[in-house]
């Protein structure tokens, strides 16, 4: 018997590194089903509304989705094998302040002491909206939008200028922290109008929450000027201390056999 757990970690690492394929242009060997979750109900309506109610089921009676900046979990019921949660997504969710200072330090992937990161972050210290400006910078700086890169540090991303939502989020978080703004990464899904020929499907995604101006604010550097908070569902926070932190792994292995339905 060899490395069952090793293989799981290799797969998780691969999926974390290339978590989002929201800009996947070419068909991969990997089936499209590996990147998407179908949305049931009148899915097109989500694009016309500011807040959305979803019902979500998954095969773990104990796991509860986190509260996040754009989502409130309003109900959780479970039987022996499954959970059902009701979610409201969109603006207007006030997230507890917590201890934002916890999200200021370096990690192996957020190498904020790196001179290139420090130098780049210093440019935003006088910005009136550094979260927006850093997001726009990262969007423009990563010119080679591609997926499938294993998890790498922010300074390497800054240098390589390629990646998908994972690289966008790591670099954004590192620049924010280096600029003195607490920031953290969120993993989940985003509703795409079209992905690899499929309409109105959730695609795995990563984004950022930053603590600025006395509150948590939302940042997505893959689309800094086109954010619709009701289209995101958060599964877990990723500490970026290691490639596959235990709580992140718990979320991904708990969230199996998921269905997501829009509630009218």
């Amino acid at each position: 018997m060899q490395s069952g757990r090793g293989l799981l970690l290799l797969l998780l690492t691969f999926f974390t590194g290339g978590f989002c394929s929201c800009r996947q242009e070419k068909a991969a060997v990997m089936p499209v089903s590996a990147f998407i979750i179908e949305l049931k109900g009148n899915s097109g309506m989500v694009f016309t509304e500011k807040t959305t109610l979803f019902s979500m089921t998954y095969s773990d009676p104990e796991f509860i989705l986190p509260a996040a900046l754009n989502q409130k979990v309003s109900g959780h019921t479970s039987d022996r094998l499954t959970s059902t949660v009701k979610l409201r997504t969109g603006p207007g969710v006030t997230l507890k302040k917590g201890n934002p200072a916890k999200f200021l330090g370096p990690t192996p992937y957020l190498d904020i002491e790196n001179p290139m990161i420090k130098e780049k972050a210093a440019r935003f210290r006088k910005s009136t909206d550094p979260v927006r400006d850093i997001s726009r910078f990262v969007y423009g700086h990563i010119t080679d939008k591609k997926t499938g890169i294993p998890m790498i540090s922010a300074s390497v991303i800054l240098e390589n200028r390629s990646g998908d939502c994972t690289e966008h989020s790591i670099l954004t978080t590192a620049l924010l922290r280096a600029a003195g703004i607490p920031a953290r990464c969120v993993v989940g899904v985003i509703l795409a109008e079209e992905f690899a020929g499929r309409q109105n499907v959730f695609v795995y995604h990563m984004w950022v929450e930053a603590y600025y101006g006395g509150k948590w604010v939302f940042a997505d550097s893959t689309r800094p000027d086109d954010i619709h908070l009701n289209r995101y569902i958060a599964f877990a926070y990723h500490s970026l201390e290691t490639e596959v932190p235990l709580d992140y792994m718990a979320a991904l292995t708990s969230l199996t056999d998921m269905t997501i339905t829009r509630i009218p």
């Binding site: 060899q2 990997m30 089936p31 969230l255």
Partner: protein, 231 residues
């Protein structure tokens, strides 16, 4: 027939009906398909050997995505008593569109409970608490010694820097008896082993009578990842 005479007969019959179980660690090299949601998405090679008096286990995984080709190799070196010596994970990323190649490595070297972790040239040192193993042959050896008895459970603390760099994590392995499993379109009667990290969901592993993995099934998000032996 008296009960005391029946019991040995039942035991003998149940033993015979179970088929053979692996008698020792198996050395060799095996090829696999990686299947995602029923579609072949990559390949893997797993090998076990003895080198310079040490046990060396290697897992290589190949996955392509668009123009990106990702090869990840994990090499585990341990003593015959399963004391950790070295754990190496190297990912090579090749992009056919730009011709670029990137190598990302992590090497942990052990001296008792002290570990030196080298991540792409950045070194860190940690002292771990209590006995621990790395992802080699400890569980297989324990299952062999327990003759893969259905219901047996083995627990060990494992060092896995992909999860935590400065602590060990609990891994639990259960022998779950024999099951009919479809591999390469054929139904085989295989030994079922469940492996899990702490309270997380388990990976299902199916072994043949010599202890070689025939199939592995992992569920994560809405995906089913399978590894099926092809040689």
């Amino acid at each position: 027939m008296e009960l005391r005479r029946i019991i040995p007969v039942i035991l003998l019959l149940s033993f015979l009906s179970c088929g053979k179980v692996p008698q020792s660690l198996t050395n060799g090299e095996w090829q696999y398909d990686l299947i995602v949601n029923g579609v072949r998405a990559g390949s893997a090679v797993i090998s076990n050997c003895e080198k310079d008096g040490l046990l060396v286990s290697r897992t290589e995984m190949f996955i392509s995505l668009g123009t990106m080709k990702n090869t990840t190799t994990q090499t585990v070196t341990e003593t015959k008593e399963f004391r950790p010596v070295r754990l190496e994970v190297v990912s090579t990323l090749e992009d056919s569109s730009s011709g670029s190649r990137q190598v990302i490595s992590r090497i942990a070297e052990f001296n008792g409970n002290n570990v030196t972790l080298d991540s792409d040239g950045k070194k860190a040192r940690y002292t771990l608490t209590g006995p621990f193993i790395i992802d080699g042959n400890f569980f297989t050896d324990s299952l062999v010694k327990g003759r893969f008895r259905e219901g047996m459970e083995i627990r060990a603390k494992l060092y896995e820097p992909t999860v935590t760099a400065d602590k060990t994590i609990l891994v639990i392995v259960n022998a779950a008896g024999r099951e009919n499993v479809t591999v390469r379109g054929k139904e085989l009667k295989l030994i079922h082993v469940r492996q899990r990290v702490e309270k997380l969901k388990s990976v299902d592993i199916y072994l043949d009578d010599t202890g070689v993995t025939e199939k592995m099934v992992i569920k994560m998000l809405n995906n089913i990842f399978e590894m099926e032996r092809i040689d």
